[in-house]
Amino acid sequence: MIEVKNLHYTYASGLEALKGIDLTVEDGEFLAVMGQNGAGKTTLVKHFNGLLKPTQGEILVDGTSTCDISVAKLARKVGFVFQNPDHQLFSETVEEEISFALKNFGFKPEVIEKQVDWALNLLDVVQYKKTSPFMLSGGERKRVALASILAWDPQVIVLDEPTIGQDHQQKEKLQQFIMQLNAQKKTVVVVTHDVEFVAECNPRVILMSQGKIIAEGIAEQILAQKDLIAKASIVPPQITQIFLELADLGLPTDVIDVHEATKILLNRLRKKK
């Protein structure tokens, strides 16, 4: 469980990025952090594995303050997948890249081998085991980066903008994969702008603007509130926009999912017949 208590963070440049955040992320929860650029989303999640330490307030991960424990130790529990895979890939082969963290954590060689193979298969990059990560396409590099975190099977997985730069098919796969992780009782925290992605996963959403949480609730409640999310520079999913514009016809205004929308429309059409 991650508990954030009255978190303030000011960068060395004087920029006050977080202004009093209170938040609890339960075990096994799926949380999406949304908001405009510069709202403090990444700054907030960087506190979860101790990369940033609070200027004021505190963060407890399973009861331990992140100030009392090194990033390397905390990382064992909280895996953090960075937005740009090019900020971490450095090894000669994909296999070595994935084993890097496991070696840092002092896993035994036979365990490393097993975990690397498991992660390679999990993210469908097993065919690139002996390839240089620099030879891969953007989407593949992203998957290798993700595999390199999942390899040690952390309890909490933080993903910073996972859907950026992925084609539709990859996005779909990624989405299924993230939901699968969550189904396995992993805590998943996703920082994202992607409303369609959030609409389909329907996680709990916190909406941030200018270093504060301005709203909190399940995706259905948040994404359908046009004026509220506009404050965070987000527009509702297209399907919600249609339903909002047709509200005069008596259509519900809190529909964010295409399948649900189809069901409602079909029912209506059938009734009319």
Binding site: L51, F90, F100
Partner: protein, 271 residues
């Protein structure tokens, strides 16, 4: 990354910021030459003090101090190596024969190491003033007006401009590797150096990738289409520039005079 902080330009207007970069550079070069000509602690202390008025006039004390702090590690390293080598191989200049045992002899070696360190600090201090108060654009203009081909000026100013970008990127990469359990500060000296490989490789790869992208994007915007390039702004010398120029020339004359004709005492002479 604090050493880069000292070389990060911030847009402020002050007498020092508005000086012609060529004149400022000449001033810094005079300090540079003087620092290399003298190896005694007294003249080096004087040289350290000389750029201070500029620092205060430009109001960049904080950044300037930060760049000095960034150089602290290297300064300590220079001091330590000088002291160790001076201890085992006292050069003929010290007048010490045999091994070092009296306090006076220790003092001589200490003073020598301190002055070598101070020489380095003077160089950092003066160059830092130059970079803190000169915008990359001004620098580019100065180079161009000194008849350096435009391609070189551009490459140079771009390199300067990208230093802070690289520093930010290095920080992100460090974070990404720490998140995978890398402990930069662990292990012995060699292990610590090896710890930086996962930082340096992505940094270099990204820098090369970025430079290729920059080249492509510039060529697609017709870079180099005209052989003769004109500039909206031209650098002109003002009164303040002439004053600094005069001061620099005087400093150079005094320096050379002292170097040639005035024997400079060590601190030990006062003991």
């Amino acid at each position: 990354m604090s050493v880069f902080e000292g070389f990060k330009f911030r847009k402020v207007s002050s007498v020092v910021h508005n000086l012609d970069p060529r004149i400022k550079f000449f001033f810094v070069i005079v300090l540079f030459v003087a620092a290399l000509l003298f190896n005694k602690i007294i003249p080096l202390l004087v040289l350290f003090v000389v750029p201070l008025p500029l620092v205060f006039m430009a109001k960049v004390q904080r950044q300037w101090l930060r760049s000095l702090r960034g150089a602290l590690f290297l300064a300590v390293f220079i001091f330590a190596t000088n002291f160790i080598f001076g201890y085992f191989y006292p050069g003929s200049y010290t007048g010490i024969t045999g091994s070092i045992d009296t306090p006076l002899e220790y003092f001589i070696i200490l003073e020598r190491s301190a002055s070598m360190t101070l020489r380095f600090v003077v160089l950092i201090a003066s160059f830092s003033v130059f970079f803190l108060t000169t915008s990359p654009d001004h620098l580019g203009l100065a180079l161009q007006q000194s008849y350096v081909p435009y391609e070189f000026c551009f490459a140079f100013t771009t390199a300067v401009r990208f230093v802070p970008v690289l520093a930010d990127e290095a920080q992100t990469i460090m974070d990404a590797q720490k998140a995978r359990g890398l402990e930069l500060e662990s292990g012995n000296f060699l292990k610590r150096i090896r710890n930086y490989i996962p930082i340096l490789i992505p940094l270099i790869v990204n820098a090369i990738r970025r430079s290729l992208e920059l080249a492509e994007s510039m060529e697609s915007r017709a870079w180099g289409a005209n052989d003769k390039r004109t500039n909206l702004y031209r650098l002109e010398l003002h009164r303040a520039d002439y004053i600094v120029l005069l001061v620099s020339v005087l400093m150079l004359i005094v320096t050379v005079y002292f170097w040639l004709y005035v024997p400079i005492p060590s601190l030990t002479a006062f003991l």
